[in-house]
Symmetry: C2
Subunit: 201 residues, 2 copies
DNA sequence: AAAAAAATTAATCACTTGATTAAAACATCT
DNA sequence: AGATGTTTTAATCAAGTGATTAATTTTTTT
C-alpha cells in the first residue's frame, strides 16, 4: 500500500513535489518535506533536479500547462459561442474538481515570481477566442461588452468558487460533500447568468 | 524623507510588517526584512511583538477586519437590494483600489493557516444580507437564485479582477494606468450584469 | 563473476532563520 | 547630577535550510 505506483524515483519525487508545492507554496516547502512524502533520501531531490528552484519551475510549468492546455483547446475550436461558452465553464469545473487548489497555487506563485509567466502566456488561443467574440459583437450576436471583459467575467465566475472554498465552507457550515453539491449547482447558475447577459439584450 | 512619519517604533514595525507580509506572505517574510523596511534593529520585532507569528496574527486580523468591516457595514444597512448591490460592488472596488493585494493575501494565508478564520467569520451581517435576499426572492422581487449563490457571484466578480491582475496585464499588455481604466470599466459591467440577471427574469 | 556505472545513503557544510542576551544609549524622575 | 527604568543595539544561539560530498548499495555491462 505504501508505494502503490512502483515508478522510478524521478517520478516519485515529481509527484511528491507537486503535492507539497501546491499545498504549501514554494516558500513553505522544504526539500525534506518533499523527500519524506516521496519516501526517499533528501539528497536525491538535488541529484535528480539540481536545485529546489529548478524542481519547482518544472512542477509549475507542468501545472500551468495542464491548466491552460485544456482551456485553450476549447477556445481554439471553430464552434459557435453559444456552444463554446458553456463548454468552457464545464471544462473548468471538471478540471478544478480534480485539482481544487490549482487556481490559488497559480495565482499566488505567479504573484511571488512574475517571471514564471512569460513563456506560456504568449499562446494564441486566447486571442483567437477574443477575436471570435469581437466578431460576434460586430454581427450583433452578443451584447457589446469588450471581449477582454467577457473573458474576465468568465474566469472570475469559474475560478473564484474554488479560491473561496475555505471561507464558503466556514460561512455556510458545509462539509466536503455539501460544497461539492454547491459547486455543481453554482456551475449551472454561472452558465445561465453569462448566457442570459450576453445573448439577451 | 526617510521617516516621513516620526511615529513610535511599534507603529513603524506594524506598518512595515503589513507591507512585507502582504507582499511576500508569512513564509516568504523574515523578521530581518521587516526590520529593514521599518528602519530598525531586528531584535525590536521580538521586543515589541514577542514572535513573528504573533506579529503576523495581529497584522492579519487588522487586514481582515479592515476588509470585512466596510463590507459588513453595507450589508447590514436596511436599504433596498436594488440600491445595496451596486453599493457593495462600489465599496469593494474602491477598497481594492487602495489595497490591490488584499484579496490574494487573505485567501492564500487563510488556506495555509485555516485557524486564522474562526473568530471574525461568525459575524452576523452576512446572514442578515442572506436573509434579506431570501425575502426578496419570496416576494418575487429578484430571480430565485439561492442567496449563497448570489453572494458567490458578487464576490467572484468583485475580487477576481484583482486576483488575476498580473495575468490580465500580461495578456492584454496593460500598464498600471491601463489596468486601472480596465478596472473602472469592469465595475460598471459587473453591476450591469448582476442587476440585469437578478432583477430581470 | 568481475568491473564499471548508476543510484542511494548518511554525514556534513555554509548559511539563514527566529529568538535571546547582555551591554549600551536614552529618557524620566527625584 | 545621580539613580532608575525603558528602549535600542550588536552579538550570539540553536534549529533548520539547500546543497554537497564521500562512501555504500544496486544495477548494468563486459
Amino acid at each position: 500500500m505504501a508505494d502503490e505506483n512502483p515508478q522510478c524515483t524521478e517520478q516519485k519525487i515529481k509527484e511528491a513535489a507537486r503535492k507539497v508545492f501546491m499545498e504549501k507554496g514554494f516558500d513553505g516547502t522544504t526539500t525534506r518535506d518533499i523527500a519524506e512524502v516521496a519516501g526517499i533520501n533528501q539528497a536525491l531531490t538535488n541529484y535528480y533536479f539540481r536545485s529546489k528552484e529548478k524542481l519547482f519551475r518544472l512542477i509549475f510549468e507542468d501545472v500551468h500547462r495542464e491548466f491552460f492546455q485544456q482551456i485553450y483547446a476549447i477556445m481554439a475550436q471553430p464552434i459557435d459561442l453559444r456552444d463554446k461558452l458553456p463548454l468552457l465553464v464545464e471544462a473548468h469545473f471538471s478540471l478544478f474538481a480534480a485539482n481544487p487548489d490549482l487556481p490559488l497555487f497559480l495565482l499566488s506563485e505567479l504573484r511571488r515570481h512574475p517571471d514564471l509567466l512569460t513563456p506560456p502566456s504568449k499562446d494564441r488561443p486566447v486571442f483567437f477566442f477574443l477575436r471570435q467574440m469581437q466578431q460576434a459583437i460586430d454581427e450583433g450576436q452578443i451584447r457589446p461588452v469588450p471581449p477582454l471583459h467577457v473573458l474576465q467575467l468568465l474566469m472570475a465566475n469559474i475560478q473564484f468558487l474554488h479560491l473561496s472554498r475555505p471561507i464558503t465552507m466556514e460561512i455556510a457550515a458545509f462539509d466536503q460533500a455539501a460544497h461539492e453539491e454547491f459547486t455543481r449547482r453554482h456551475k449551472d447558475i454561472v452558465i445561465d447568468m453569462l448566457m442570459s447577459y450576453l445573448f439577451t439584450f
